[in-house]
C-alpha cells in the first residue's frame, strides 16, 4: 500500500500546516465533548489511579484516568502489553478497587462485579464442566424453563454455534469457546460489555472472522462495549473511538475518533490515514 503523502494526510485530518508538533498532543476529543453536552455518559471514569504493592515496592500502573463512554458506543483501549489497560478494565468491571478515583455507571459508583455489566475474558472464561447450553444459560436461572431455552437458542444462533448445544468446551476450538463466552455474556442482557483482548489467544485468520462477527452482533444488540487490545488494526476496525494509552504508568495519550462509516473499507484513504495517525501517535515506523 502506498504511503499517503504528508500533504494529503494533513488535508484529510485538517491538521494546521507547518512543522510537526514535538510536544505530546493533549487529549483531543471534540466529538465526545459535543455528545457530553447532550446526554450523561453511560460509563464515567474520574481520576482513576492504581498503585500495586508487590513485595512492598509501590508500582504505579494507572495515572489519573478521566474518561467518558457513551451509551451504545464501541470504545477501544489501545496500548502496549503490560501498560495497564487490562487493569483499567478490571477496575471498570468491578474486580479491582482503584487506589484513587472512581468509576460511575449510570451515575452510580461501581463497587463490585455486576450482572448488568459482563466481562468477557481472553481465555478460560468458559466453564469446562458445563455444556454450551448450560454455559450460555448460566446467568438465566431466574427465568422459567421455556423462556430460558428460547433465549439460549437465540444466542446460540446469533453467535453461530448451531448444532453444538450439547458439546463441552474441550470439544470446541478457541474461536468457538470465545463465541460461547460472548453468548453467555449477551444472554443476561447486560448494559455494558467488557472485552479483554478476547481474540488474543486465536490465530490471526480467526481473529478477522471474529471481529466481523462481533460487529454484526453489536449492530444487532447495540450494547455499550469497552474493548481492550494491543492490536492497532483491530482497534481501528472495530471502534467508534480509540483511546491510545501510554506505557506504564498508563495515561491517556490521545483519543481518536474513527469516523469511517461501517462496514469499514480497510483500504479506504480515511482508514489508512487514521491508522497512520495512530502509528505516529505511538511513535511507530511506517516501513518495516
Amino acid at each position: 500500500m502506498a504511503e499517503t503523502s504528508p500533504d494529503v494526510r494533513r488535508a484529510i485530518l485538517q491538521e494546521p500546516p507547518g512543522p510537526k508538533r514535538e510536544v505530546p498532543a493533549p487529549v483531543l476529543d471534540v466529538a465526545a465533548r459535543e455528545r457530553r453536552e447532550l446526554a450523561r455518559p453511560k460509563v464515567a471514569l474520574r481520576g482513576v489511579s492504581m498503585v500495586f504493592n508487590p513485595h512492598g515496592k509501590a508500582v504505579r500502573v494507572l495515572d489519573d484516568i478521566d474518561l467518558d463512554v457513551d451509551e451504545g458506543e464501541f470504545l477501544c483501549l489501545l496500548g502496549p502489553s503490560g501498560c495497564g489497560k487490562s487493569t483499567l478494565l478490571n477496575i471498570v468491571g468491578g474486580f479491582l478497587r482503584p487506589t484513587s478515583g472512581d468509576v460511575r455507571i449510570d451515575g452510580e459508583v461501581v463497587r463490585g462485579p455486576d450482572p448488568r455489566r459482563i466481562y468477557v475474558f481472553q481465555e478460560r472464561g468458559v466453564f469446562p464442566w458445563l455444556t454450551v447450553t448450560d454455559n450460555i444459560g448460566f446467568g438465566l436461572g431466574h427465568l422459567d424453563r421455556a423462556e430460558r431455552q428460547r433465549r439460549i437458542k437465540h444466542y446460540i444462533d446469533l453467535v453461530g454455534l448451531q448444532g453444538f448445544d450439547t458439546s463441552y468446551p474441550h470439544e470446541l476450538s478457541g474461536g468457538m469457546k470465545q463465541r460461547v463466552e460472548v453468548a453467555r455474556a449477551l444472554a443476561v442482557n447486560p448494559d455494558v460489555l467488557y472485552l479483554d483482548e478476547p481474540f488474543g489467544a486465536l490465530d490471526s485468520i480467526t481473529r478477522l472472522t471474529m471481529r466481523a462477527e462481533l460487529l454484526r452482533i453489536w449492530a444487532a444488540e447495540r450494547k455499550t462495549i469497552i474493548f481492550v487490545t494491543h492490536d492497532i488494526e483491530e482497534s481501528i476496525q472495530l471502534a467508534d473511538r480509540v483511546v491510545i494509552m501510554t506505557a506504564r504508568p498508563a495515561k491517556m495519550r490521545r483519543i481518536v475518533a474513527i469516523d469511517v462509516p461501517r462496514p469499514r473499507d480497510l483500504s479506504s484513504p480515511r482508514y489508512i490515514a487514521l491508522r497512520e495517525l495512530v502509528f505516529d501517535e505511538l511513535g511507530l515506523a511506517h516501513r518495516i
Binding site: F95, P113, P115, F121, E123, G139, V188
Partner: protein, 259 residues
Amino acid sequence: MRYLPRFVLKISGVVTVIAIWGLVVQVTDSPIIPGPWAVARAIHELAVKGLLFKYAVASLFRVTWGYLLAVTIGVPLGLMLGWYKRIGRAFNPTVQVLRPISPLAWIPLAILWLGVGDGSAVLIIFLGSFFPMVMTGMNAVRNVTPTHINAGRNFGLSAWRFMWSVLFPAVTPQIIAGMRLTFGIAWLVVVAAEMIAVNSGLGFLIVDARNAGNRYDLIVAGMVLIGTIGLLLDVAMRRLERLESIRWGYSTSAIDGER
C-alpha cells in the same frame, strides 16, 4: 513386537517376575523365603478355611470407615481453609505440624482411648487420611483458575449458589485425584494398624502367621493379597476419575502416568 495389547504386556511382566522369584528361591534353597508355589498353596489354605474372605472384608471395612470419615470431614474443612484465606493462614501451621506425624505414632493414644479393636484401627486410618484430604482441599481451591472465579462473581450469584455452581465443580477433579492418592495411603495404614491394634484382618494375618509358628508362606500370601486388593481398588478409583475427566476434558495423564 510392534503392536502388543497392553494387557498381554502386563501379564507377561507379572509372569516374568514370578518366574524369577521361583528361580531365585529354587537356586538359593532358602528355608525362609517361600517360592510362588508355596504361596499359592497358602492362599488356597486361607480360602478353604474361610479366613481369606473374613480377613479381607475386615480390612476393607476398617479402611472404608476411616477413609470416608476423613473425606467427609477433611474435604469441606480443606475447602474452607483454602477459600477463607485468613482462617487458612491461622490454622495452616497446626495442619503442617500434625501432618508429618506418622499415623502409627498415634497407636498408643488410640488404644488408650478406644481400646484394642476396630475403633482404634478406624481412628488410625482416619488420621492417616485426614491431613492429606485437608491439604487436597486447600490446594484445590488455590489452584482454581481465577478467571472462573471472576466469571462466576460477575453473574451476581448468592454465596451458596456460587459455591455450588462454580467452586465445587472447579475443584472436583483435583479432589478426586487427591482422594485416589489418599486411599492408597489409607490402605497402607490399615495394614500397619492391624498389626498392632486388632485381632483380624490382613495385617493381623501377617503378624499372627509369624507368631504362630513362623509360617512365612502365609506371611507372603498375606502380602500378595494386600498388594492385589490394593491394586484392584486403585484401578477402580482410576476408572471413577476417568469418567469425570473425560466429561470435563481435564487431562489426568500427568497424575496417572499412563493412558
